[in-house]
């Protein structure tokens, strides 16, 4: 498989009153044309890893890495202006909560058209047509009406599909989805995921799927990285997730209530301090 993205020894640090807090501690992985899942508890550094790739971490946060190569081109050496060319066009990101990531004072249509016209030379009329098509591609009925609506008029599921449409319209090579469905109902979750799955497959994109939902990731992804305290503790094939060896992964799996296998008590994670210190596992292809 060809490598689209290669991240080497990534650190994200935040200075605070009592020293420096290391949120991501030396993570290395690569991404091909596949669906890569990143799972872990909140605070394990999974979202920051996604943001660091797009260089979205602002001062005083510090990002350090050997390299973050996109087709062999180091993103860390790029200027802000060059980065803006990468964001959206090469790598785009679907954020967790559509309520906070769509512009509340712009119509949905204007936002999507803006996203398209920033990267493609197109007339307004073309961009409008393309945006409507894109909304239809994410199964929004009545796309013309949605184009004129404001984000607050949309439900959570629709908002998230609009986000996905907006992120996919510049036709990026890599999509980073940060908990794209955790704010949604199970029934809507399914819809949103299958839309993403279809688009990713059709366009041959690389997908980084960040989630805390292990079952979801094991069904949806090809490969999974499990993060704990800023490090990768285990890498496995998604369909083999249930055979995971690391006690942390096993603990996470055990803490889920199972529909098919009822239990009186759920297993509670007991954290071993050694997990923090164990070196990060490389997750290269």
């Amino acid at each position: 498989m060809t490598t689209l993205l290669d991240v080497d020894n990534l650190w994200v640090r935040f200075p605070n009153r009592s020293g420096v807090f290391d949120a991501v501690r030396g993570v290395s992985f690569s991404l091909g044309r596949e669906r890569l899942g990143i799972v872990g508890e909140s605070g394990s550094g999974k979202s920051l890893t996604g943001r660091a790739i797009l260089r979205l971490i602002r001062s005083p946060g510090i990002v350090e890495a050997g390299h973050i190569n996109l087709h062999g081109d180091n993103l860390l050496n790029k200027s802000e202006a060059e980065m803006r060319k990468v964001r959206g066009e090469k790598i785009s990101m679907v954020m967790q909560d559509p309520k906070f990531s769509l512009n509340p004072v712009m119509t949905v249509g204007d936002q999507i058209i803006e996203a398209y016209r920033l990267h493609a030379k197109a007339s307004k009329a073309e961009a409008y047509k393309k945006s409507v098509e894109m909304l239809e591609a994410v199964s929004i009925r009545d796309a013309e009406r949605v184009m004129k609506a404001y984000p607050h008029e949309m439900s959570g599921g629709m908002g998230q599909r609009i986000m996905i449409a907006m992120m996919l319209i510049p036709n990026p090579e890599i999509l980073i989805a940060d908990e794209p469905t955790s704010a949604l109902d199970v029934s809507v979750q399914g819809q949103v995921l299958s839309i993403m799955d279809k688009l990713v497959k059709e366009r041959g994109m690389g997908l980084i799927f960040i989630s805390h939902d292990l079952n979801l990731v094991s069904q949806f992804c090809d490969r999974v990285l499990i993060m704990y305290a800023g490090r990768i503790v285990e890498v496995c094939k998604a369909d083999k997730l249930h055979e995971a060896k690391h006690p942390y992964t096993q603990g996470l799996l055990g803490s889920l209530p199972r529909f098919d296998a009822p239990r009186d008590r759920l297993q509670v994670l007991t954290r071993d301090p050694a997990w923090r210190e164990a070196p990060s596992v490389e997750a290269r292809l």
């Binding site: 109902d185 199970v186 399914g190 292990l214 069904q219 803490s255 529909f259 009822p262 009186d264 008590r265």
Partner: protein, 251 residues
């Protein structure tokens, strides 16, 4: 066993005049004393609204609701809040950001007319597995799971018999969810509580409850034993759909 909660033909509305919206339509259910009952359905199906109508947070309702055999009117008395307490969905929003844990709990205890507040605060903290060390912390110094424990402690302060749980773990990680669900199980056994629990996660409801009502568009479409639900013995298509969606979420 008598019924702790009984709801007959409940209708709830929001808004007024042309904006009137009926959130719950002709809902009926009963929960036996000491039982745990689940409400499932997608968002907007009216499951939280039933809890809100019970606690008096949704004033426009019609029908019959009774707690331990006493009919509820539109005005609730002190005795009601000593019997019924609610735990809210989002522990980040349901605690006052500028009140310490001590203030939150002792104010509640005072309102319920308890005298030995100091002892009770410590006992409540122990009950929810936190301990006195957390007493003088503010919500921002607590993790999500710890906050939810405080919210549960606050609900337990009145020594209620019935807890209404509105998605108590949906804002939490799976590992923390397991801790909170275990805590709720323990508390139920210890204090002989009755639970009415709302969740969109069927696995959580199946874990916690014996019976559940499935809701859609404000109506209860089916009341089903959890054992039947696990066996896939559903009588309504929508329940089957919901089961299918939660089992294979990637269609």
């Amino acid at each position: 066993m008598s019924d702790a909660i009984s709801i007959e033909n409940l209708n709830v509305w929001f808004g007024e005049h042309h904006d009137l919206f009926q959130a719950v339509k002709h809902a009926s259910l009963t929960v036996a004393s000491g039982a745990s009952f689940g409400l499932v359905g997608e968002s907007g199906s009216g499951k939280s609204t039933i809890l809100r109508a019970l606690t008096g947070l949704a004033p426009q309702w019609e029908g019959q609701m009774s707690i331990n055999g006493t009919d509820l009117t539109h005005k609730r008395d002190k005795q009601f809040y000593k019997t019924v307490q609610m735990v809210f969905q989002d522990p980040y929003a349901s605690l006052h950001p500028r009140h310490s844990v001590d203030q939150v709990l002792s104010e509640t205890l005072q309102l319920h007319g308890f005298k030995d507040i100091d002892n009770r605060v410590n006992k409540l903290l122990l009950d929810v597995g936190l301990g006195p060390a957390f007493r003088f912390r503010y919500p921002h110094q607590l993790s999500g799971g710890q906050r939810q424990r405080i919210a549960i402690a606050r609900a337990l302060a009145a020594e209620p018999k019935i807890l209404l749980l509105d998605e108590p773990t949906s804002a939490l990680d799976v590992s923390v969810q397991a801790e909170i669900l275990n805590l709720l199980c323990d508390l139920r056994a210890e204090h002989g509580l009755t639970y009415l629990m709302v969740s969109h996660d069927l696995a959580v409801v199946a874990h916690m409850c014996e019976r559940a009502a499935v809701m859609r568009n404000g109506e209860i479409v089916e009341i089903i034993e959890v054992a039947d639900m696990r066996a896939g013995k559903t009588t309504h298509d929508y329940t089957a759909q919901l089961l299918h969606a939660s089992a294979n979420r990637v269609a």
